[in-house]
Symmetry: C2
Subunit: 229 residues, 2 copies
């Protein structure tokens, strides 16, 4: 690295994206989310602020923020007294989650068909290639969700993105849960996911809202059937 004097630090200095500083609250949120999605924290487990603060070696303040964020994501629920637990999902919860996802993703598909850019498509293609190269099931499910999220981002619709955030973690939870339940059966899931995504992307790119909608409905139905109850 060349020696850098003050005079080298001009405003036009390129390629130095600002340091991203995560707060302790954000870190705690990510850590707790991962613990719930992975099953490390069992369903119904109590989440006392003091205990979590001790484990994560921070004060209760960032933990409180994290728990409130996780409630918004639907992974944590509070009782009347303010105590939080890992949310227990019922069969009905899953059906509701699925129908909500369907509604939001169909809306996203129509918007995508109208608004997509070349860069969007290239990014998505690259993501599919990344899925192709994956053998790890957990990683594949995360990439799967990330792919759909990218479509929603490309829809460039702020309220839609906010709504999506309220169900995204729950979808990850269900996928991870399914994988844990029958890791063996799904070893071929790459062969299922990748062509499905390629076809979906191709249909979304035709520019027809109606075609985009039906393609997304097909993708949703596939996901629904694939996922055990």
């Amino acid at each position: 690295m060349p020696p850098r004097t003050k005079s080298n630090l001009t405003p036009s200095q390129p390629h130095l994206s600002p340091l991203s500083r995560f707060s302790l609250a954000e870190d705690a949120t990510a850590r707790i989310r991962r613990a719930i999605v992975s099953g490390e924290l069992a369903v119904g487990a109590a989440l006392p602020e003091t205990g979590l603060a001790e484990q994560l070696a921070v004060s209760r303040v960032p933990i409180r923020e994290a728990l409130m964020a996780m409630e918004q994501e639907g992974l944590v629920e509070f009782d009347q007294r303010g105590r939080s637990r890992v949310r227990a999902f019922s069969e009905e919860d899953f059906e509701e989650l699925f129908s909500m996802r369907c509604t939001l993703e169909v809306m996203a598909a129509r918007l995508f068909a109208k608004r997509m850019t070349k860069a969007d498509v290239e990014t998505l293609e690259a993501m599919i290639d990344g899925q192709q190269a994956t053998q790890n099931l957990t990683a594949l499910s995360l990439l799967d969700v990330a792919f759909h999220e990218r479509i929603i981002q490309a829809a460039r619709h702020r309220p839609l993105a906010v709504c999506w955030k309220t169900i995204r973690s729950q979808i990850e939870y269900w996928l991870a849960r399914a994988h844990r339940a029958q890791a063996d059966r799904h070893l071929s899931s790459v062969d299922l996911t990748v062509p499905g995504h390629r076809r979906l992307l191709a249909d979304l790119c035709r520019g027809s809202e109606a075609k985009a909608e039906s393609a997304m409905r097909l993708e949703m139905a596939t996901w629904r059937e694939w996922l055990p109850a």
Copy 2:
């Protein structure tokens, strides 16, 4: 009130709903929300935690919670440094809000057609009667939103209710804003709202999902046209 001795306090004591204790954070949220919706807090105004805490005579902790909740509701936004401001809405924001509302309410209408109970319908009818009796424009707009929220509650779909909560306050904001802008023109809005709601409710009760959807789309279109940009 009859004198009450300890022996009268049996578990079967009726009609004493538990005291609802609002936390300072909830109170602060409601107060700040009202201030933004009513225009008391101007668009773009800084919302320093210290200042709000002083005004509301609480510490910064409940204020922080309130601001985070308001961000989720879309009325407050944070900059990179964590400072919050009253969100500024653009014309595009309004269009996005409207299309999101349309998607969610159509979904709710279909669910309502399937799941409504007699009690739901009676409640909604009573709400319409309440609107009929209103002359105050601000009160009417709140009742209008409450009516639609009641339909969504009757849809009994948890993720849908969560998504609705992310846009509800923004809708109230736009309605209040419209009323402030042209309070005179809308003195006849009762005559517009009440029959519209009656017709909507009647169509939702026919039990046909398709009819419910088209009725709700009509209601949304009416709202859209009625609301100035």
